[in-house]
Symmetry: C2
């Protein structure tokens, strides 16, 4: 290894290793000024950094958190949504001297109730959880008494600290937007049960709108759904066709492509509103108008809360409170895929 240990360093400096340890940890006045600087000089010279495993064992904390993504594909982090969350959390960890273990965790592994080694072996002090989280999974996780914060999973609110988008707010804003552009016939695509419920609750306030909910419960691809929708669109009498569609950005683009093949144009024939402001939305032609969560900000907030819990600044219920009081981080990006229609 060639790496120098504290003991050796202390011997070189002619001090006890406990003194050297205190110097390494920047404790106030652990020794005479002269000795301190001697030790510091040696540390600098040898590029000494405490061995993380030894320090973890002695301190009983790892200065490390996990970022656990529960996805049904090994390509979970390739999804820009999760990648951005990770980036946000990573930035906070870096700023506060924490390490971040990334783990993409297959849904299926849950059936064994086989939690990731990271958690079981306590190699993280806490973790951030995101992706699809089932209740069974949550129970298993919770039984481990490791602090964690979730991102997404609106329904968990109240029992765990969770930073998530508020589908009630989102659906209201979307419907208001539709109305402001004079749209009446709307297709609203949502995958979450709660999102659907929140939408349905909103509908009472929008009796002038005819909203059809496109539930995508099974994991059909965006393309497949787009094809189905296009077929239906074409079969419908023109007066019955939606003039506005809301859905995931990839779905919107896939739909625009399919419709285009049938001769229908966006935004002339149909307005499309995406729910993720990502590279695709930004560069698609026409640029996709979106209402989107700020995912990296969400990752950041989650990490900040988690680290505050770890440092004892926040207890469980305070963390829950903080997660609930976070101001909504969603934002609109108005681009060219939506337009007002004549009344």
């Amino acid at each position: 290894m060639g790496r120098i240990t504290l003991k050796e360093l202390a011997a070189l400096a002619g001090v006890d290793k406990s003194v050297a340890s205190k110097v390494a940890n920047g404790l106030s006045a652990p020794a005479s000024a002269e000795k301190i600087s001697r030790v510091q000089a040696l540390m600098h010279e040898h590029g000494y950094v405490p061995l993380s495993a030894a320090r973890s064992l002695a301190r009983r904390r790892n200065q490390r958190i996990g970022f656990l993504l529960s996805a049904n594909t090994s390509l979970g982090f390739a999804n820009e949504v999760y990648a951005r969350m990770l980036c946000g959390s990573l930035a906070v960890c870096q700023a506060q001297g924490y390490q971040c273990l990334a783990d993409s965790w297959d849904f299926l592994r849950l059936t064994d109730l086989q939690l990731p080694e990271n958690i079981l072996g306590r190699s993280v002090d806490g973790f951030i959880l995101t992706g699809g989280v089932s209740d069974a999974m949550l129970d298993a996780i919770r039984s481990f008494a490791l602090p964690f914060v979730a991102i997404s999973g609106e329904r968990l609110r109240g029992s765990v600290p969770v930073f998530s988008w508020d589908t009630a707010v989102i659906s209201r804003e979307v419907l208001e937007y539709c109305r402001s552009l004079n749209h009446r016939r709307i297709w609203y695509c949502t995958t979450q049960r709660l999102g659907r419920e929140n939408l349905e609750r909103q509908l009472a306030s929008f009796p002038d709108l005819r909203v059809e909910i496109l539930s995508r419960t099974d994991p059909t691809s965006a393309e497949a759904l787009a094809k189905t929708c296009t077929r239906r669109y074409c079969q419908l009498p023109p007066a019955e066709r939606p003039t506005f569609v809301f859905g995931a950005s990839v779905f919107c683009c896939a739909l625009a492509n399919e419709l285009s093949a049938q001769g229908y144009r966006c935004p002339q024939d149909i307005s499309l509103l995406g729910s993720h402001d990502n590279t695709l939305a930004q560069y698609y032609h026409p640029g996709l108008t979106t209402i989107s969560e700020n995912y990296s900000r969400l990752g950041q907030l989650a990490a900040e809360t988690l680290l505050a819990m770890l440092s004892g600044k926040l207890n469980h219920s305070q963390a829950i409170q903080q997660s609930q009081s976070h101001t909504n981080t969603h934002y609109w990006s108005f681009r060219a895929s939506t337009r007002a229609i004549d009344v």
Copy 2:
């Protein structure tokens, strides 16, 4: 914590903790069958998993690698290219019982020669390095005698194990493709110095093609470059305009958007070939033809090589050899943005 330790477990089972340790590590015949099963039952019952820090200290290996991205933005992993590499590496780690520490490392931090804690504190057994790697950085990194494998950084070949795309091969295939579609006037966008050199070398074999190299040395955004190119395109006499442009996929899409605003269509007026097969290329309209590296595969290969080094199956030079002999993982995705023109 509530977590049970080996010592306690051994006491419960009425055996020495060294025996329990052997059972936990699955050593052959560490004790009588009866004792073994007694210990195993207890371990199962308590959900015992060795404490990772203690095990790391005793074994002097962490079963953990780092995935270091050197980027000039904290949003590095939001780039689909790097996210996919990470996914590939993650999958391998998972399969082989390793943990993966993700770290996005700002270029600027290099100036202090301040290496990430992960490396300095030896909290990883080795790491995968990707993104922009300067020579100074590489020297600093190398001096730490931790095994690592790089992804990208063609010029590093020979001195470190690096999995990278071969710009010589890519440029040849691109030019051949242009020729096969009867294109003569080509804009070829590349950011890397070596990529440019390799392209220039190829040009000798393609005297019939008029290739202009668009060097993007400064970090101008894809949009900015697209605007500049569009201006030039419009100013050029029609007979001088390129009929084929090769570049990063976002750039291609941005260019298509700009050109479209000026009334020029893809692929009717211009063929566009992207260098990354990502979500944008797939869903853009028209679908972007791409020649792309398989990034997740690259991440996978890098991790496999690194883990082989860590387990002693490969030494440094064998790893280099293996990285060089990897069959090219790039592939074409033919979509609608390119077309043959009349001669």
